[in-house]
Symmetry: C2
Subunit: 344 residues, 2 copies
DNA sequence: CGTTTCCATGGAAACGATTCCATACCTACA
DNA sequence: TGTAGGTATGGAATCGTTTCCATGGAAACG
């Protein structure tokens, strides 16, 4: 592996390394002649500048870090795609990390991102402001929180207003006659887990529905915990007649076990999920969801990060959420959960 | 932003930069005393080594590149997760790129990955061996192809044997009485697109089914082209009674438009998709699929890449595929596509 | 024609680590 | 006691760029 350096290019072009560097970085203080000669040498040698050396000298790495909990979650997959494409358009490459909803892995990734001197970090954070998150602040590394926040940290963020969507969902279910709504919550170590749970609690109270704390199951945003949640909730002496899942993966788990148990969604039990995924509309019955725009979230996050990198202090953005009613929650149920007709 | 370097650490610890470096890299030629002093200085200063400088000097970047077509495709999302986690376990971070099934974007990403001197690259390649792919070889950059290959290039790869699964699918449909099977193909610029199409053609011929070339629609592995394919195939004078989609996204598009057109899957028309996605089993009717193991593919790809980085020459691996019959294809259909009973 | 200005250029010093090489010290052995 | 061998250490070179600074020549101006 013979490494080709800028000196080789300079030698072949008959100029100095300094001039070659100037040509390559588009510095106007270059003659058309040397521009042409260097360009020719570059293609002749198939020269690729060493990004490490460049970054070392210029203290810019042209890379950003994106830390999410799990790309297999369609929400984060969409986010990763949008962020990566927007960053690419702005000349940055994206380092992807999956924290797997585990704080030590988040810290480990933040450490590597700091070591690699990424120009900025977009993170869906987990936990409180302890650990490596603290280092981001003391080092003044441009950071933007996406989807989630961390209490007490003054970092610009793009989040969703869960309140509106969840309130609409609860009101919708209440209007259909449900009084006992089961809630499959996200982990309380995340701001979305806490916020959505709080929104649910408030909405339930405002509507005068059952606040039986047994109706809440605390999951971890993974499919398996959705199944476990349904399992637990259906074993109650007075099981819920409707379910609200705090993210799409737990909804998937819930659907899987409901199928297995032979409970007909939208007939025997109503189901609404947070997060709109293309596929949810294809289910039969189609799934009612609380929708929010991932693409917008990703684009705004990159925009904000670029601003922070440029020394700006963008305002945090809160995006709306909204209930989309489909068949999975459209059947009115009598309060005692009697039999009902199926609609489609 | 005051940068803390190894010299600061060395000064605080009262040793030289060389010794500090030795301590940090675990070199045994260090006294317990300086080890302790350096460790203390590191935590005191919250020192993070500059990965660029380290990489520049040691010609290892401890990073790999992963280039897929689109993380929003659940297959690639799973792959990205597995690869990223396996790489992390081996001490590497992953640079993610989405080529969006476009050759120029693939080339652009390969260029940046080369510039960044990643230690290796895992790519689901697109197109022929022209463009930047060629540079990978001449520069002897450790590379592994995953899911797809490029004809004529001697690069280790992990792929799926599409033949077996597709043959099983065709035989299964033929046994159910289908003679006109529509095929929604992947792009012919990808090896999977070509291989699966060839396998389909062979299977159709062997079974003596209709080889009407109008029954093949060439899509691009995106959902929209699945919809377009169904639309085109159903407009034929003699439309197919069964459909085989070459990937999951096109299957999603197909399902969406079939719903909209009021065609009942598994009743009016049979449907089988390549790629097994957890959610496909949750559809009603559940979707028959040709399944292959993404996790295994990802793990093996990282294993192989590590071998190549170590100077080895691992053998390419071909993983099996297999038909999983579910309700979407289980109803026998009379050759003339008459009415039939619904099973579930 | 002489002086100023401008522009393209090359030499050399960074950037922050690793690593070769030489040295100083200490122990062990004859 | 003198020498060989081992160990911990520091100085300095190095990795491949960018960028500061000085220089030389051409152009422009009086």
């Amino acid at each position: 592996m013979v490494a080709i350096t800028i000196k080789d290019v300079a030698a072949l072009a008959g100029v100095s390394a300094a001039t070659a560097s100037r040509v390559l970085s588009g510095n106007p203080a270059t003659s058309p002649d040397s521009r042409a000669r260097v360009a020719a040498a570059v293609t002749e040698l198939d020269y690729r500048p060493n990004a490490q050396a460049r970054a070392l000298r210029s203290t810019r790495s042209d890379s950003i870090g994106l830390l999410v909990s799990d790309v297999r979650n369609p929400f984060f997959a969409d986010l990763a795609h949008t962020v990566e494409q927007a960053a690419l358009a702005a000349g940055y490459v994206t380092l992807l990390g999956n924290a797997n909803e585990r704080k030590e892995q988040q810290d480990r990734y933040l450490d590597t991102l700091i070591s690699r001197r990424v120009d900025g970090i977009i993170v869906a954070p987990l936990g409180d402001g302890s650990g490596s998150i603290r280092s981001l602040i003391t080092r003044e590394i441009p950071t933007v929180f996406v989807d989630r926040t961390v209490d007490g940290l003054d970092i610009p963020s793009v989040t969703t207003d869960s309140e509106a969507g969840i309130r609409q969902a609860v009101e919708h279910l209440a209007a259909a006659g449900h009084t006992r709504i089961g809630y499959i919550s996200g982990p309380q170590a995340t701001s979305t887990g806490r916020d959505r749970f709080a929104a649910f609690t408030r909405a339930i109270a405002d509507k005068g529905l059952s606040q039986d704390h047994e109706l809440v199951y605390f999951g971890d945003y993974q499919a398996a915990s959705g199944s476990a949640g349904v399992h637990a909730l259906l074993q109650l002496r007075r099981p819920p007649t409707a379910l609200l899942a705090a993210d799409s993966l737990m909804a998937v788990g819930a659907i899987a076990i409901l199928h297995k148990l032979g409970r007909r969604i939208g007939v025997d039990i109503a189901l609404i999920a947070f997060d709109d995924i293309e596929w949810f509309a294809l289910l039969n019955p189609a799934l009612s969801v609380i929708s929010h725009s991932v693409e917008e979230m990703g684009r705004i996050a990159v925009d904000m990060l670029l601003q922070v990198i440029d020394g700006g202090q963008p305002e945090s953005v809160v995006l709306p959420s909204e209930l989309i009613v489909r068949a999975s929650s459209s059947t009115p149920t009598s309060p005692v959960s009697g039999p009902s007709l199926r609609t489609n």
